[in-house]
Symmetry: C2
Subunit: 898 residues, 2 copies
């Protein structure tokens, strides 16, 4: 005996929890100790439902097991022995008595379901002798040997780690030889042969005979469950989800009931409501004379539970074949649903016409079903409005707003990149924005495939159905712009070898050229060969009603990032409560205006620059006026020009030539200027408000356009309040300087137009220094908006355009669990935001503070922002509904925590 074994458990709770009709130790509230499965078994037996009796080994024993060198400690073994004796008394048979054996199932059960954990073992307790008694007792030799065959098969796989495909191979080989279609066609002799064959395989693989001692079987099975808690897959999963390794798993030991004991037996699965569409009626499937996972494993095709589901086909439903069991099942489902206030997914077994419930849990469902169920249950007064909000997962909403590839369609996967913007589309490959534009004009659907995109490509991106890039992360230019447009996009497909010049892309064995058709799934990052059918999105009345409930419960406002009037309209359709970020530079890429922009940049003298700016003024004024009109006096935050000027200049020969003609300059002059403006690290270069320090006239023009646009709207009886935002500020002196510039220009327009209007001047906090001197900046700002994209780039020193090359290694090496451009990095970036908010509110307690990075629609980030007391979040229009839901949930959760 192991001397190191524990003598006494240092725990408060029990080590074993019975669930017997006479004694139920557990309840649904003890999920942390019993696991989800064990807790529900206890709850159901308390409610008087027919649950086979058993007991749950506490999850706390898991750590004890590890500390005891992965051995069950003696005290626990003793308790288990006692429990098995009690269970035998209950079932009127005895564990280990080969003449009247007690058979049990052993199952894992953690507080949350987790991949990689051990599967069930059924019929434990059987051996070469007991199987004979079982045959005699049941007068059913076939049943007994089928149980033994199943037991060895499962035990070998799960406890002894024998390659399970080997055993399955023997089973299938025998069926093929004998020309059987179903397992039920196997004869008793076949089963006996299989048992012998399986035992031989175990001996060969493990060097040991298959264990005949039921106690040894039981201890090994329980140990296997505990060990499975710490297999690699489970550990990775927990790290990824920030679950604690200390939680451990419980183990459920339960007396067997048999669905494979003849034609009056069955096993099945039922849902209290339809998980596909949410309709309120029982649905499910069952198999006659079957056991355990047969239904799920697809050994035979299962039959429908209800007549309605049979769709008039001549199939024998449970409703018809077992009418009284069906009635019972209906009652059980109904009561469980009312008890748990959610759709239940129930496993049941019928033994000799008697119903047994083996498991219940909340049912997984489609978004459509989730929405309907939530609202129906609200109407049925089963749940409150607040609870309704937790019945629909935010990510499901995002899926819903875009067409998607049919999950049932056959697909040939070509490669996988990062899922940058959801949706599913098919189209012909084009390798340049020009081709995209031209093909689109011809009415063709195209997918734009590029190394990466730049602001020059916008026109082509608008023309394409979807965008695929070989570089860049989920906040690269392509990704951000695509999300803004609600366009399907996959980025960072780094397996793809792209040759834009020769018009070819190679990936693995595939070589595609322009014109070939591919399909893109922006929700998974997959790219497929050929066309894949799509499903249309649905925004029905349920959705509208649900969202109206959502907005009742959120404290933070949700705004949209929108640069064009059409995006503003989309944003309002999706319920945006303002524009949190209008990137004025995106307005600069229109056909006419890009020429004026380029003229401005190429200007040698201030006068030339002013002329170009005068050309741009009316265009910008029109943009802003339309934007204000679209938002109907909701707040609109306009960020003044941000990107470095070289982003607007052409780089291709043809374009340079064209520009030379239009501006009357030499091609060489333009090339020189392009060269002179090049930057080593444009992200950290001459951009943002730094442009306005060098060329104040650019911001002056933009501010004038904003102010004149406000006056235009005032003439229409509207009263927009523009929020002018200054980007990339790092110094108090910078903000002061530009604020004065802005104020002077507005004052000038107000005097000219003889009008006064309100306006706010604020700044982006997107550099670490800005967050650290937020108090100084607050003196000169009416509002702050944290630009979490750039703040993440600078705080972590990661260029989002380049991280595609190294971040994947970080994920594969488990160095990071979350993409910092998707979920805000709380320790680094989060610290700066927190400090920024604190410093700013010390100066101005009611300062309006928001964020406008890509984190504005991500759950953990929004929870964080809500805790910090931000006033609003802003995200791309298509993510507004998601963000609204998260904001509401976050606020409810936050208030309840208090």
């Amino acid at each position: 005996m192991d001397k190191k074994s524990y003598s006494a458990p240092p725990l408060v709770g029990k080590n074993l929890y019975y669930f017997l009709p006479q004694q139920v130790d557990g309840s649904v509230h003890l999920q942390n100790v019993l696991g989800s499965k064990g807790a529900h078994l206890a709850e159901m037996i308390s409610m008087g439902f027919p649950v086979p009796p058993g007991f749950t080994v506490s999850a706390d024993m898991c750590q004890i097991f590890y500390k005891n060198n992965n051995q069950l400690p003696e005290f626990l073994k003793k308790e288990i022995q006692q429990a098995m004796k009690r269970l035998g008394e209950e079932m009127k048979c005895h564990f280990g008595d080969n003449n009247n054996p007690l058979l049990v199932s052993v199952r894992s059960g953690a507080r949350v379901s987790m991949p990689g954990m051990m599967d069930s073992i059924l019929n434990l307790g059987l051996n070469d002798e007991a199987v004979k008694s079982l045959a005699k007792q049941s007068s059913d030799e076939w049943f007994a040997w089928d149980c033994y065959r199943r037991f060895i098969q499962m035990y070998a796989d799960v406890v002894l780690s024998v390659d399970s495909s080997l055993l399955v191979f023997f089973l299938e080989d025998l069926k093929r030889l004998k020309n059987y279609k179903k397992d039920t066609e196997l004869t008793v002799e076949d089963l006996k042969k299989l048992v012998q064959c399986f035992k031989d395989q175990v001996l060969q693989a493990t060097g040991k005979y298959f264990p005949q001692d039921p106690e040894e079987q039981l201890y090994s099975a329980i140990s296997a469950v505990f060990n499975s808690w710490n297999n690699t897959r489970a550990i990775s999963y927990r790290e990824l989800n920030n679950y604690h390794h200390e939680w451990g798993t419980a183990v459920n030991v339960q007396a067997m009931v048999f669905g494979n004991k003849g034609e009056d037996c069955a096993t099945g699965v039922a849902f209290s409501r339809n998980p596909s569409n949410g309709e309120k009626h029982l649905v499910g499937e069952f198999l006659v004379n079957a056991q355990g996972e047969d239904v799920v494993a697809g050994v035979r095709t299962p039959l429908p539970v209800t007549k309605a589901m049979a769709n008039g086909k001549i199939e024998l439903t449970l409703e018809e074949r077992f009418p009284s069991v069906f009635k019972n099942l209906n009652t059980v489902c109904d009561r469980l649903e009312k008890h748990y206030k959610d759709v239940q997914d129930i496993e049941f077994t019928i033994e000799k016409n008697r119903l047994w419930i083996l498991q219940t849990r909340s049912a997984k469902r489609t978004f459509k079903a989730a929405l309907k169920v939530a609202l129906d249950m609200l109407d049925e007064e089963l749940i409150t409005e607040k609870e309704t909000l937790f019945r629909v997962h935010p990510s499901a909403i995002e899926q819903m707003l875009h067409p998607s590839l049919d999950p049932k369609a056959q697909k040939i996967k070509m490669t996988q990149g990062l899922a940058a913007s959801p949706g599913g589309v098919s189209g012909r490959i084009v390798f340049s924005p020009e081709e995209a534009f031209q093909a689109h004009s011809r009415g063709e659907k195209v997918i734009l495939v590029r190394t990466e995109t730049s602001p020059e490509d916008i026109k082509g991106m608008i023309s394409a159905e979807g965008i695929v890039t070989t570089r860049g992360g989920i906040t690269s230019h392509a990704a951000v712009v695509a999300r803004g447009m609600g366009k399907c996009c996959v980025v960072g497909c780094d397996e793809v070898n792209l040759d834009e010049k020769s018009g070819q892309m190679k990936v693995g064995k595939y070589c595609l050229k322009a014109g070939d058709i591919i399909s893109v799934d922006g929700s998974t990052g997959e790219v497929f060969m050929g066309e894949v059918p799509t499903l249309e999105p649905q925004m029905d009345d349920n959705f509208q009603r649900f969202m109206s409930i959502v907005d009742k419960y959120s404290k933070m406002r949700v705004r949209a990032n929108a640069d064009h009037p059409r995006e503003a309209k989309t944003a309002r359709q999706f319920g945006a409560q303002g524009i949190g970020l209008c990137r004025t530079e995106h307005m600069f890429f229109g056909d006419e205006r890009i020429i004026s922009v380029r003229k401005m940049i190429l200007a040698g003298k201030e006068r030339e620059r002013e002329e170009a700016l005068e050309e741009l003024l009316p265009m910008q004024r029109k943009d802003f006026s339309a934007l204000f009109a679209a938002m109907k006096d909701l707040p609109v935050t306009i960020r003044l020009l941000d990107p470095p000027l070289h982003e607007f200049l052409p780089h291709r020969d043809m374009e340079i030539k064209e520009l030379a003609e239009k501006t009357n300059k030499k091609e060489e002059t333009i090339r020189e200027r392009v060269e002179a403006l090049k930057e080593t690290n444009p992200m950290l270069g001459h951009r943002g408000c730094r442009l306005a320090i060098s060329f104040p006239e650019i911001y002056q023009m933009q501010v004038r356009a904003i102010a004149e646009a406000v006056c235009e709207r005032m003439d229409q009886g509207e009263s927009p309040v523009p929020e002018i935002m200054i980007p990339l500020v790092m110094l108090e002196s910078e903000l002061k300087f530009i604020k004065e510039l802005v104020e002077q220009e507005i004052k000038a327009v107000q005097e000219e137009k003889q009008k006064t209007f309100k306006y706010l001047i604020g700044t982006m906090i997107e550099l670490p220094r800005a967050a650290l001197v937020a108090d100084e900046l607050a003196n000169h700002a009416d509002f702050f908006s944290f630009g979490t994209n750039d703040l993440t780039q600078t705080t972590l020193g990661i260029s989002r355009d380049d991280c595609g090359k190294f971040l994947p290694s970080y994920v594969s090496e488990n160095l990071i669990s979350e993409d910092p451009f998707a979920t805000v990095d709380q320790k680094g970036v989060g610290f700066l935001i927190k400090r920024g908010v604190k410093l700013a509110r010390e100066i101005k307690p009611n300062m309006k503070i928001g964020i406008c990075g890509e984190h504005g629609a991500e759950e953990k980030s929004i929870n964080f922002f809500n805790e910090l007391g931000l006033n609003y979040i802003s995200c791309s229009a298509y993510r507004v509904p998601v963000a609204r839901l998260i904001a509401a949930r976050s606020h409810i959760g936050h208030k309840e925590k208090k």
Copy 2:
């Protein structure tokens, strides 16, 4: 009368401070109130020296003046009237009495000398009547009219803002007409004519007659002094130097003594020791029959004070012409020097063979003189060792270590950039590193002129005498590398239009081609046409002795950034106490090894990469071994590979062709790889320890080379302790991962070689996030080194390679006072460093922490690091002596503050 005038001064101190033989209100300790000039006048008169009597208007009156609408308040005027009366009694004449007028000088005097402040006004009190009395009293009409002429000229310029060049023009015109060479040749008639002419000009320019009322003259002059405190130039200067605007300036009103009263009169300047070489004897210059600024203004060539200075030339020295005055002057100088314990710069006037002292101050001196004077005074027991350290300015040391352009040489300035690395050199222009290398091999001296440099250019940079770039800031690649080499360098000459291809550079009217000679001053940033003679640096015994005193008083160690054994040797010569940063990548650019490096990068498979690394291993081992040997067991911090791999790849066709041949790869393959590795923002890209996550074998090779090198040195009886530094860490998991990698490799080598040795593993803190999670990182690090260059780049979001385009505007708009790459930004970057140190020391109270950015040799930054309790600073070898001095001064200052 102005009703708003103040009735009572709300001040503790006096409004006026007398300095009369009978009453001295001030002293040298009241410089904040009296200004430097007034305080010294008071001090000197207390010591019994012949100082013309007078009084000082307190600097506190300056603010009163502003608050009183820039008017002298009545109470002050009254006090001034009383004081003038008292002064008249002292001088036996009366201010405002045209028959026996008191004449005074009015001078500004702030606590620090400041450009833009008002100059002196002499002979105030004269008018059309008084001049006649003065002539009569002195029996010297010429003297009287010369005084009046001077007075009007100064007053018109300084108080009435009449364009002074106009008056000078009339004076010069008259002299030309009359064929005079000196002012003294003017006749009385000439002077009278000039006075009339000057008065006419004043009338014409101001519309008012020249004021005849002495009181009005006096109040206006005092007001002008107060106003000059707030002129634009003075304000800018104060903002630049963080001087308070509230300080204000004092005003000195002093009875006139006259050096222009005949041949027994003179005016002059004397130094108590020679300010050029520090030798201990009086030197100075004087002019007979002259007044005020004549000596400095160069109206006539002044004569030497001492015979020694006359160098045997037949000149009448002061010593010969005024022997008793000379003796007095000698005594005064001697006593003042002993009193102030520093070399004095004295202004004096001789009136009728009587000596008057008008001013004394610490003398400006050359570095050589400063050094000698400091050590001499130490030996003379005038000052202590600690005081010695404050008598030599750190920046002077840096000058001293490099040859410099002869300041007296004639020069044609071509352009000016940023002073990146000191020294003065001349050479022929080359536009490519290859040309530099070839010209150098032919024995030619060349200046490498480029847009910017990259690591590929190192060979050419070594070959050049100096480097000029048109882009980049003072921490750009060119600047950092040049400073490391101690090579003269000017960067960011953005006026220069460079065409490397055609081999031309244009700037303004100049157009130069390869082969033309230019001269570069790395201490000022100036670039000159043609050759300019240079002065050689001097590191004499005084220097060595001084530095040995320095090291007695510093707490922080000073290490050098050195990448090559030869740099390590230089560093030791300059007294470095270890290597704080060895950038291993600089070792990768040798002729043979760059091929292996490129092979490694181009490797398609891991095996290929390993082969290339095996080639590099012996080379790196040799490097490290030599480095350890050069440092003789002083600590050596080796940073593992940091830059992105693309920096090592060739970009020029020829080089690609060559590489293709040497590696047996297709040119196209190489081009593809170069293209694939390109990054949008390399600074934030795939570099630092991110390389080791993707390619652990690179760091493994480097660590093996370090460990094997240590074993090699151990065989020689040495015992180096390598400090292995991991760059660009942002996550705890990253550091943990790489630390394990490093430890495993060292263990492997130790086992192979059957040796054990100590080593440290630490990390750079160069990203904001790293500083914010320093506690987490401290768990896995033996030391930290703040990489303040990159930390500044990320915290402020400024790319040092690109900031040349916008930072100059920030300076010209007065938005920043200091280049954040030169002086550490305390509010942003400094906050992060402080927090990082705090968090780290909470985990490991004695953790070794240093910095290795360019801030390691800058005064304010070092003071800051000293206050934070850092263990060491590291800077380029040539700046080590400077840093040592600052560190010592900083520690003394810090301790005295406590």
